[in-house]
Symmetry: C2
Subunit: 431 residues, 2 copies
C-alpha cells in the first residue's frame, strides 16, 4: 500500500510551528508496512487543495490528512475531499450533542460555526474523536482509494490515530504489530557496523535514531497475533544485545537516567554528584526521574575553586599543583562528595566546556570524570575528549551521559569502557 | 512572489527525522514577503520528482529545495531540476578542488562518486557552500521562474541560505530586511491582548512564538536601506516594551539565563542556588552560559532533608514544623546558600514536581521560591501554582524560569510580580 500525508494549516506554511505530525505519521505508516511517497503542507485554500487531492488520489492508495477540520468558514478540507471522493456530508445529531457537551464541560457555548464540525460523510463514515470537538472522516472511492481526515492538534491527532485509524489500517494490512525500543550508548555507525544484517531484515524491521551520544533502535515485528509479534520483537532485541554488549542499556525508557535510578533503587544504593563543567546537569537529569529522591539526596555544583574546597574538601594545594581541570581533582571531588553526603556511589566531573579556556595539552572538550564507591573505597578515573563536538551544550550533555553510565556500571559491577581503576591508597595519575 | 519548498530525503518520508528545514525556510521566506503556498517532502525518485517539479514550476515563481545533493547514484535532484528548467550541468574544476581539500582536512579521500557534487549549472549558476562539500545550484527559466538547490544538512543549508540565497532574494524583492527578537515572560494570549495592533501591522511585521513560560516576539522590518529597517525594528521593539513592561526582558538572546549572567556581570554580583524540586536545573541553565564562572560559584542540590540541613543549615525543627515544602524552608534555603557561598544573591526552591507526593492544601505543582540579598539582608518569597502543567519536566522548567527571573529582578532592583518582601528579622509567613 502507498500513502501520502497531507497537513493543512497556514501556521505550518508560515513556519510558526514545526511539522511534527508528518514525522509521527510517517513513522507509524512505515511500521504498518505502508510506503509514504509524499508529504505535503498546504493552506486553507480550496482550489489548491482540490488540485492536490485529485493528483494524490490518482497515484496513491491512501491519503492521510491532519488539520483543516476547524469551525471557521475557510476550513474546507472535509468538503473538498468529499467532493474528490464522490461523497457528500450530512449533519450528525450525535456528534453535535458531543460538541455541545464538550463546550459545556469547559463552561462555553458552541457557536453556529461549530455545526460545521458535526458534518460527517454519507457514503464514508465518521471517525470518533474522544479528545476534542471535531470528529474525523473516512472517505473511500470505487477504486478502493481511501482518505482519512484527522485533527491538526497533535494530541488529538495522535489519540485518534492510536484508537481508531491505526487499528483499521492494521486490519487492512491483515496483521498486528509490536515495537520495542532498545537504547544503546554510542553512535549510529559503530552500531550499524556491528549489527548490519538486523537493519536489512524485513520482519522484524529495525530502524536507528541518533541522539546525543547514544542511539535508539526501534524494532517492529508484524505477525498474525499480538503475542507472536511481541515474541519476535523480544528475540531480535536479545540478538541486538548479544552483539552490542554492555552499551545496550535498556528498553522502552526515555533516557539513561531512568535506568540509573531504577538500578540504584533495585540495589538499594544512594548516589551523589559533584559537578564543575556540567554545572548540575547530572543532578538535574537524575532528579527529573519520578521517585529519584529514594536514591539521590545530595548534589554539589562546585563551579568555583573555593566551592570545591569548602563543600568537597578538595585541597587548594592539589588544585594549585595539578590544575583544577585534572584527574586528581576529579577523583578528590568524587571522594569528597561521598564523604559530605554519606552516599554509596558518586561521580566527580571537571573539564573545559568552552568556548574559551583551553590549557596546554588540554583543549576545549577535555573532561575528567571520576567515580567513587564507598563500599570498596575504590575510584575510577577517565579522561574524555569531547572537543570535536564544539558546542558547549553538546560537550556538557555528552559528559553528563558518560557520568550517568559510570554510575550505572558502578552499581551493576560492570567495568567502564576506558580509564583507570584506583584503590583507596593508589596515587592518582595525571593524564 | 510565490514559492514552494521541496525537501528531498527518504529519512523524512520514513519519519526518521523531523523536518525543521521546512519550518526555517517558511519563516525566512515569509519575512522576505514571499508567500509559501506548498511544502513538499519527496524521496530520491526521479520520476516522482520530475512530476512535482513540472507542476510546481507552473504555479509558483520560486522553488526552494533542500536535500538531494549527495554523492550517491540515486541523488538526482540537480539533474532532474536542470532538465525541467531547460538547463544542463558541467564539471567545475574549482568546486572539485574544494571537495578534495575538504576531505583532506578530515583525513579522507573523495571517491569517484563525489565528482557528481562538482557538477554545476551551465545557464544558471552554482551557489558556494563554505560549510560542506556540495555546492548549491540556481536555475532560471525563460518565464523568470527560479529554483534554488541547497544541502539537506540543516547547518549547511542555514549557512548557505544566510550567506548566499537570502541576500540574492532580498535584492530581487528590492529591499533590505532586519529582524529583532524580543523575549517576554508570560503566555501568548496575555501578550496578544496587550499588543494586538502590532501583530496586525504589515511593516514591521510581528510574529509570536510560544516557549515554556515565555514567548518570543520576532519583529521584522523591510526598508530601502539596512539602517532604516533597523531603526523601524528598534522603534517597534520600544513600543512593545512600553506596553509589556518588565516582563519583556531582553532582545536577541537564547534565553533568560543569558540575560541574568549579563546583568550579574554588569553589576559585579555573585549568585548562588539552593534547589530541591528543580534538582540543579537553575544551576545547569546559568552554567550553560559561557563565562558564567564570573558570576556563579556555588550550587546546592539539596534533594534530601539532611542535605538541606548539612549544606544550608536549615533547622530540622523548622522542616518538622512547617513541612519541607513550605515558605519558611525556601527562605531558610536561600539564606543558607548566601552564608555557605558568600554570594550576594541567592534563590531557594522547594516544591512538589509530582507525579505523586501531594500534601493537604499543597497539590502537585506547588512550589515555594525565595530569593535572598546579602547586601540588604532582605528576602522575597513567592508561592507558585504550576500544577496545571501536569508534566514533571514542565513544572520544573517553569519553576526554574521564575527563579531566574527573581535573580534578574533582585539584581536590577525591580519588584517581583507577586509574593512578600521580608526584612532580616521578619517572621516568614506560611501560605
Amino acid at each position: 500500500m502507498t500513502a501520502e500525508i497531507i497537513c493543512v494549516g497556514t501556521e505550518l506554511l508560515l513556519g510558526d510551528i514545526v511539522n511534527t505530525n508528518a514525522q509521527f505519521l510517517s513513522r507509524e505508516l512505515a511500521e504498518l508496512g505502508i510506503s509514504v511517497l509524499h508529504q505535503h503542507v498546504i493552506g486553507d485554500n480550496p482550489g489548491r487543495l482540490r488540485e492536490l487531492v485529485t493528483q494524490a488520489r490518482q497515484r496513491s492508495d491512501l491519503l492521510v490528512f491532519s488539520g483543516g477540520l476547524g469551525p471557521t468558514a475557510d476550513d474546507l478540507t472535509k468538503e473538498t475531499v468529499a467532493e474528490a471522493f464522490g461523497d457528500t456530508l450530512r449533519f450528525d445529531e450525535e456528534e453535535w450533542q458531543k460538541i455541545v457537551e464538550f463546550f459545556g464541560r469547559t463552561h462555553r457555548t458552541p457557536s453556529e460555526n461549530n455545526r460545521k464540525q458535526a458534518m460527517v460523510p454519507v457514503k464514508g463514515h465518521k471517525v470518533p474523536n474522544d479528545h476534542g470537538t471535531a470528529p474525523g472522516a473516512w472517505f473511500e472511492d470505487e477504486q478502493g482509494h481511501a482518505a482519512v481526515l484527522m485533527p491538526g492538534v497533535p494530541r488529538e491527532m495522535k489519540a485518534m490515530w492510536a484508537e481508531q485509524v491505526r487499528p483499521a489500517l492494521q486490519a487492512r494490512q491483515n496483521c498486528t504489530i509490536h515495537s520495542v525500543t532498545l537504547r544503546v550508548l554510542g553512535g549510529e555507525s559503530s552500531i550499524a557496523s556491528k549489527a548490519a544484517p538486523f537493519f536489512e531484515s524485513e520482519n522484524p524491521t529495525a530502524a536507528i535514531y541518533c541522539k546525543t551520544g547514544e542511539s535508539e533502535i526501534r524494532v517492529t515485528a508484524r505477525a498474525a497475533t499480538a503475542e507472536e509479534a511481541e515474541t519476535a520483537c523480544r528475540a531480535r532485541i536479545a540478538e541486538f544485545r548479544k552483539v552490542l554488549g554492555d552499551n545496550a542499556y535498556d528498553t522502552d525508557v526515555p533516557g539513561l537516567e531512568y535506568t540509573v535510578v531504577r538500578i540504584l533503587r533495585e540495589k538499594g544504593l544512594q548516589a551523589a554528584t559533584a559537578e564543575s563543567c556540567t554545572g548540575g546537569l547530572v543532578a538535574e537529569k537524575l532528579t527529573n526521574v519520578p521517585g529519584a529522591s529514594e536514591v539521590f539526596g545530595f548534589g554539589f555544583v562546585t563551579y568555583a575553586e573555593q566551592a570545591k574546597n569548602r563543600l568537597l574538601g578538595v585541597d587548594p594545594a592539589l588544585i594549585e599543583r595539578c590544575n583544577v581541570v585534572s584527574g586528581p581533582v576529579a577523583v578528590a571531588m568524587a571522594r569528597g562528595a561521598l564523604k559530605a553526603s554519606g552516599a554509596d556511589l558518586s561521580i566527580g566531573i571537571t573539564g573545559l566546556a568552552g568556548p574559551g579556556g583551553a590549557l596546554p595539552g588540554k583543549p576545549v572538550g577535555t573532561v575528567y570524570l571520576a567515580g567513587a564507591d564507598a563500599r570498596t573505597g575504590r575510584a575510577h578515573l577517565m579522561r574524555l575528549e569531547l572537543g570535536g563536538y564544539q558546542e558547549r551544550a553538546v560537550i556538557r550533555a555528552r559528559a553528563a551521559l558518560y557520568a550517568l553510565d559510570l554510575l550505572r556500571r558502578m552499581a551493576l559491577g560492570l567495568p567502564p569502557d576506558s580509564g583507570v581503576s584506583l584503590g583507596p591508597d593508589d596515587p592518582v595519575p595525571e593524564f
